[in-house]
Symmetry: C2
Subunit: 192 residues, 2 copies
């Protein structure tokens, strides 16, 4: 998840190839397409916010006057597709050669591994900005790198490993990013 902290104004235009369209935006668009067409019901979870002060200028009208962004305890997206529980997070990778493992929080990895254990579909959807490519990476494939990072053996995943292990997802028109095609492959794998 990208907490809405201050960003340099140039950030959005780094990747001219995809015209600054952020991964989350095209995923949200695609989810809407999936819902409207009755293909899947997948939603982005609201950003958790710790509310500290609320005022009530009028009846039934609450105005939050002080609040803070919290670190989400899970991932950003979950839902149902073909009867399967689907859970994932979106990650953007700006590197030319590697993806820093710390870009995925430990609690997100543990959550996704737990989902996998309960026979759900759990993955990362990674946008390789410099390549203008999108990959769906099964959490089990990410796990080995993450375990190594916990042992101090590794700090990042080579981009070429993501390109090899991941399922490449193409950008389209409707939906913008048809990532459920990749999920179909994970479902096949699950049932092998």
């Amino acid at each position: 998840m990208n907490l809405p902290i201050k960003k340099k104004s140039t950030k959005k235009n780094i990747n001219m190839a995809n015209k600054g369209v952020r991964l989350e935006e095209i995923v949200n668009e695609s989810n809407e397409y999936y819902r409207v067409n009755d293909i899947a019901v997948i939603h982005k979870k609201p950003i958790p916010i710790q509310v500290v002060k609320v005022s009530y200028p009028s009846r039934n009208k609450a105005v939050i006057k002080e609040a803070y962004y919290k670190v989400p305890s899970t991932t950003d997206y979950n839902g149902i597709y073909k009867g399967y529980y689907v859970d994932f997070d979106c990650k953007e990778c700006n590197g030319l050669t590697s993806f820093p493992i710390k870009n995925v929080h430990d609690h997100q990895v543990l959550h996704l591994l737990s989902i996998k254990k309960h026979k759900g579909i759990a993955f990362l959807l990674i946008n390789l900005l410099k390549f203008n490519e999108y990959y769906l990476l099964d959490i089990d494939d990410f796990k080995q790198y993450w375990s190594d990072s916990k042992l101090g053996l590794k700090k990042s995943i080579p981009i070429k490993d993501i390109q090899t292990l991941g399922i490449k997802i193409n950008i389209g028109y409707k939906p913008s990013i048809d990532y459920l095609k990749g999920v179909d492959q994970l479902i096949e794998k699950l049932n092998k």
Copy 2:
């Protein structure tokens, strides 16, 4: 979902039998028990908040200065259990004879029906405050009353119908409310 709007201070103590413990609290406790014991991964979604003004008194420290509660587009709870996608909302009913159908928002009903269609488990968890009883009501059973209400034929469900159609859930120690026992029955029904 209960938006944290101003409540009369007596509200929490209306039902002395359950000592003012709110349904959501015992559901959250139970979900934690299920997660810790690796039985299911079910979370409460954060309350959606529309952020209007944010200030940055220091680097990387965002303080929300103006924000508003939004109406959630789905239900409060979802997750995975035995490989099944589970989705539900908690409702408290203060009536002696009936439960007002408008207590469940249309978009929640439509969302739950959609989940059911995609082969998920979708229900309402209802606390009958006056009876100190808890029922898990399959969204399909709620549907008939809701459809009638849309046609102007009904405004509420008789409590006795909830007690007949619903699956009674007992309050316990660990977990506080073992509602997955009711979900087991819905899974059986799904596979019939």
